[in-house]
Every structure is written in C-alpha cells, then in structure tokens.
Symmetry: C2
Subunit: 434 residues, 2 copies
C-alpha cells in the first residue's frame, strides 16, 4: 500500500477500504506518514467527501488511537450531549443536571472556548474552586455518587484526532463535514457511552451556516454512532441569534442557574427541556418521548435539576453558594449600554458579531494558549421580534478593562438590525435527525 | 499575509493576487512555508484550478528562483521545441538539426526518461562519447559555432519547480494542468529564448489522455509565453500509437538518423517537418509558414539537417560515425518476435503498453536513480491501419538480458488490437494553438 495511491484514489472520488483508512490514520499517528501527505489527503477529502463507511472507520481509528475513559464499572445507562457550538449556548449546564436528576448517568465531556463560540469548561471554571481536571477514577466515583460529572477532553483521549485537527487548522481543511463529524464522534465515543444527543447549530453564530450542511453533519454523526451500536439523535437548532440573553462565562453560569430555577429565558428553557428529554428517552427512563418531556419539565419545576447542579458543582470542588449569591462569582467592574439608533422591530441579532465582541473584551480566546476573563461579557436586553424605541437599550457590555470596549460596542451595534416590519418568527428547533 | 488564508481562498475558488503567489513560492523555496501547507495548496489548485494570470505569475516566480542560462551574448533568434512526452518520440533529434540548418539558433533543453516515456538526453547518450553536461559557457560557444546545442535541465535552473515537483510526486498533485504548464514553462523560459514550439501529445501513450485537457494545457502554456513576450505555438498531436517504429534509446537514434536521410517513417517525418517549420517561421527566417515548411523539407532532402546533426554530435564529444555505422551504437544481444494471433487490421497499438514493455527490459526508468540499458527496445513491424495475417510479425523485442522478456512480450501482445474492419484513419496533427 502506498500513501500517494490512496491520496490519488480519494482525489478521484473512490471509496477507500477500511484497512486503507487504518493504514492512513495509524501511519500518521505513528509518524510514518508525513504531514505533507496527510494534508494533501485532507484537502482531497474536503473536495471529494467520504462515504458513511469511510467516516465510521476513520472515527473508530481515531478512537482506537487513544485511551478511553472506561465507565463500564459504573452500572446504568450513560448518555452525553454534544453541541457543535454557538453563542450564549449554556445548555450543557442545564441539561446535564436535569437528565441526571431523572436518573440518567451523565458523563459530560466538554471543551473550551475557541473562536467566537464559548466552552463549557471555561464557564464552569468561573465558579470559585471548580476543578475540571478529573481523573478516570474520580469520574467513575462522581458518576456513581452524583450521577453526573463534567470531564475535560484530554489529549490522551483521541491523539490521532488532536494531531489531525492541528494539521487541519493550518491547512484550511477544518470545514469538511466528514472530518468534523469524525472528530466530534471520536472524542464523544471515547467515554464508553450508551447514547448521545447532538445539538447541531445552524446560522450566523454557528460553524454550519446552511441548514443543508447541518443536516448532512447530523446525519453523518448519527450514522457513525449507529454503526458503533450507540443510540444517537440529533436536533438541528437555530443559532441566528444568541441563545438566551447572557454571553460570557460567569454571566452564562448565572443565566443557567436562573433557568434551572424556572426563571430563565423562553428559548433556553425550551431547548434545554427538549435536549434533556431526548437524553432521558434514549436512556430508556420513560417509554415515550412525551413522557420524557414531562419528566424533564417536572425536574425543572420542582427544583431537582437545580439541586443536582449544586451537588455536582460541590462534588467537583466548586462553591455551590455561588449559584445563589452571584456576588461570589467573578464580577465585571464596568458597564456600557448599547442603544438603538431608531425605533422598530429587532429583525436580526448576528450571533457571530456578539460572540466576537464578547471575545474582544476577554470572554473568549483566539488561540488555545490565550487566557480568558471569566467576569466579562454581554447581556442582551431584547431578542429578535421585539419592538424597540429609538434610544432604548439593546444590550449591556460588562467589562473589567476599557481597552477594546468601544470597538466591541461598535461591533455589537452592527449585530442588531432594526426594521419597520415585525420579522417572521423563526423556529428554534428546526429538525430532528435519527 | 497568512499561508492558511491563501490556501483557503484557493480552495474556495478565488484568484490570488500576484504578490500572494510570490509569497507562496518564495516562502516555500526559502523553507519558510512548510511542505504540509504547500501540499494542501497544491491539492486545492488541483481542484480549483488557476487563472492565466495566476499561472503566469507562478511560472515567473519559479523562473526567478534559479539561475537562467544567459544566451543573450549570442546574436540571433533562439527557438526551442518541447514535447510533453510520448512513446517513440525522437522528434527533438530531427527537428533541432533541421531548424538549425535553416539558420535558427536552437538551444535544445532536454530531460530524461521517466515512467513509460523516453528522454532526449538518454537517447543522445547512447552515442559513444556524447556529453550532456554542458556549461553555460560551452552552450554559448556551441550555439555560436554550430547553431545548436543539447542542454540538460539542471536543478539550478528552476529550483522552486524541482522542489514543488518532488512534493507533487508524493501527494498525487502531478496531474494538474496549471501545475504542469508552469513547471514546463519555468524550465523552458529559463534559457533566454525568443520563441518556443510546443508538441502537446494526447492519447494512451501521453500524459494527457483527452484532447480537451491537451488543449487547455496548450492554451495555458501559450498564454504564459505570451505574457512573457515570447512567441509560442503549440501543436496537439496524436500519441495513441508510438511515433515511428522504434522505441528504445539507440534504436531511436538510428531511426532519427534514417529520417534525417529522408528514409524514415511517414508519421515521424511529417511531424518533424511541421515542428521544424514552426520553429523556422517563429524565428522569422521566412515570411510565411508555407515557405518555412518548404525550407524544412529542403533541408531534410538535401541532407543539410543530417550534416548539422553529425556536426552537433561531434561538437558535444560524440562519435558522428555512429550515425552511419549503427554497429558503433550499443546493440542488443537477443531478439524475440511477437506475432499476430489472427489475421485482420491493426486497429490500435496502445503506446503506453509498448513504452512500459520497453521499460521492463531496461530502456527506461521507474525511479530517477535507475540506470538504463541504451541498447534495448522494441521495433514495430506494422502500424495502425495495416493488414496482418495470422502469425505475421507485429514487432521485435531487442534485449540484452532475458529476465523480463516474456513478461514484456505479453504486454506487447496486449498492446496490439486486431480487428476485422479497417479502422478509420486518425489525424497525426490534431490542432494548432497560438
């Protein structure tokens, strides 16, 4: 087998055999295949795509390349949720405790902020004392005792994926649906899961800008899961405006807390209930999805989810009181209002701009090694479809340093589009796949 | 400027600006841009193509990367000929002396055999004593005194092309028309030429299998030449069967000699006259192409071309007597006939198989470092359209070692297709571009 022949066959649109995929991934991980051949192969995949059989094998190879967190010693059905990333997407903080309080075991494997989208681990670390560097032993213990743990994606999990991702990042081969699908699934299926609920975001604030691409990605991930005997469902959800009102780490923890106390934004509450219900249903805790929805709602309304969240935070070293007394969370020192230049209806809030503005004042990072400021962020005052007057507040920017505040304010202003007509309502949950 | 952004823009089909092409080629030549980014870029070019403006700039960059053989001190119009390579293509040996004997200065820059196609330098080196390692100073002298020299493409000529070609070879990005066009032209225009005649081969024995691809390649090369103020014309010629009868180094020198004595095969003679005529016309030695054709024919018939070839061979250290007395050339020790299994018409002679069979017994090389056997090769007895009886000889294989003779004979048998109907005649010169 020669690497150049495999590159050529992929270039020409052929399907590679399972052992050919193995040869490429194992060879690359062992440094037998050089970067320059792999990057040409990845660009060929960008253009020629991959079949479901190829992408499943690629995922298995990457999964096999690393350690898997063995959770089989913990009895019970384990279900995780994964979002492809958006602006203001704090559903993990709400959904995991809701599902856990309904009896689902939730090993929540999370990532960090990169680019304009946030990361669950960064949000959790804004809670004083919270530890995300959990060992496999601790994970098993937390899962047994609390039914929930928040885990960090380590480099040991799927090193082939880590190495491939670093190469994709510098060779313009990130935006390939089969490569995205296999990268996500190789990390998620490394946990020893039984089922997985996927939230594939689509819109200006998401990685996938078009619904057709989001659907293809969702289908591919569901297919990969099925081939590996996991129960997988995917929701395709709107990310044309931020989810909820809060964007920024501590600000999102506060909003998640409020939502778990049944005092959160409608969109965030609705999506969290739906995701938790799917987890409950896939864990076979109920016999129908409707029953699962009622159970998730019940756990929200009766405070079980909120209590579960506090318990989980405490178990990972965090101060649970910070979830009631927000003054215990990092707080910004300055605030700047952004007002509407004219009256009308909010027709669009470009999530990507809001995310980028929040990053600009320190809430996110452009490079992996950048530090983040947990206190800062943006809180929207209005959402798409609401009526505003000239001069009324559109959002508030919370900052600790004045450096980039003006720039961020300008970007936020550009994010809001005000129109004379009331815009058509857009569905939050667009499709279900699987 | 970031390399990854340029890869992405090429991937997305954008045209890169001249300074962006410079950045990539210069950066790669200076080892500031790593192989893995360049190979992703090359694969993106494979899929997205390049505009004429981009490919011209790429050629100029590669040209600038090396030494150019400065021939400006030699007064007169310099014209070269380049063939994209075929089986039995010995036209350089005929065309260069014909044009030179008509007063054109011909610095003939040649390559070596690789894959199933032959190389002019290898053919010339089968003449005892012939030297191809000519210095720029010697080249100028030969050009002044003989009007003709055969030069070797050195690594110093266009090192960026050499480095890029080596990378393309292992990343399945060789077969890209803009990359082929710029690679050829960067080496050809390094000689300080005034004009260039291109012979773009198409068919089973050529790199370009389809006429539409050959046309696009020809158009691109003509365009590159024009943008650099060179007069360039391209012929698109048939390579569905070998050119002439002889395939193999010394065997092709013999056939070229015969052709220069007006005793060669029709197809080879016809194409050589046409190519020489174009060189004469582009060098403005005649005021019309028809006049140039008559002049080229005259130089063939009156033996001027043949005498010029002998003079050039002697000037480069070769024994000119070997062009009369073929026993002075390396000769094979064994011969095997391949006969027709049935009567009928020769409908196809797959040039690629003939070239591969000739390679198999030592006439060519698979890798750059392989040695070749100048004596061996194949001589066809018939060409497409001729009638054969069952058992009549199709061709003879000349060998010095018996190792692969049977295998080669089988391949040659597969190359000949015999049909009941006489096949339609195929034009030798299919198109003229420029």
């Amino acid at each position: 087998m020669r690497t150049v022949d495999l590159i050529q066959r992929k270039r020409d649109g052929d399907e590679l055999a399972p052992e050919e995929i193995d040869y490429l991934v194992d060879g690359y991980t062992n440094a037998e295949i050089p970067d320059y051949q792999m990057s040409a192969f990845l660009m060929a995949v960008y253009f020629s795509g991959m079949t479901d059989r190829e992408v499943s094998r690629l995922t298995e190879c990457m999964l096999r390349s690393g350690e898997t967190v063995d959770l089989s010693a913990v009895p019970g059905i384990k279900v995780d949720k994964h979002s492809t990333g958006g602006v203001g997407d704090k559903t993990s903080l709400i959904v995991a405790p809701l599902a856990a309080s309904a009896g689902v075991l939730v090993p929540m494997m999370s990532g960090r902020a990169l680019g304009h989208t946030g990361g669950t681990l960064d949000k959790l670390e804004s809670i004083p004392g919270f530890r995300t560097d959990i060992t496999p032993e601790e994970a098993r213990q937390l899962l047994s005792e609390v039914g929930l743990c928040f885990l960090s994606q380590t480099d040991r999990l799927a090193p082939a994926d880590g190495k491939l991702y670093a190469l994709r990042d510098v060779t313009a081969t990130v935006e390939s649906i089969p490569l995205i699908a296999s990268s996500i699934m190789s990390k998620k299926l490394g946990e020893g899961l039984d089922a997985l609920v996927l939230d594939v975001k689509v819109g200006s604030g998401a990685f996938m800008k078009k619904q057709v691409d989001a659907r293809r990605l969702a289908q591919m991930m569901v297919g990969i899961g099925r081939r590996m005997d996991k129960r997988v469902q995917a929701l395709i959800t709107d990310m044309s405006q931020p989810l909820g009102y809060a964007v920024g780490n501590a600000l999102e923890v506060m909003e998640a807390s409020q939502t778990l106390q049944n005092a959160g934004p409608n969109d965030l509450t609705k999506l969290s209930i739906e995701l938790a219900a799917r987890m409950i249903y896939l864990a076979r805790k109920t016999s129908s999805l409707d029953e699962a929805r009622r159970l998730a709602e019940e756990k929200l309304v009766d405070g079980s989810g909120y209590r579960k969240f506090k318990q989980a935070v405490a178990a990972q070293g965090g101060n649970p009181q910070a979830l009631d007394k927000f003054e215990l969370l990092p707080n910004a020192t300055g605030m700047r209002e952004v007002t509407s230049p004219r009256g009308g209806y909010v027709s669009t809030i470009e999530a990507e701009y809001i995310g980028a503005a929040s990053n600009m004042i320190g809430a996110g990072r452009d490079r992996k090694e950048d530090a983040i400021d947990p206190a800062v962020g943006i809180i929207l005052e209005v959402k798409v479809g609401e009526k505003v007057d000239a001069g009324s507040v559109l959002c508030r920017i919370y900052y600790t340093r004045e450096d980039h505040v003006e720039e961020a304010a300008e970007m936020v202003e550009d994010a809001f589009h005000i129109s004379a007509q009331k815009p058509e309502e857009r569905e939050l949950i667009l499709e279900v796949v699987g």
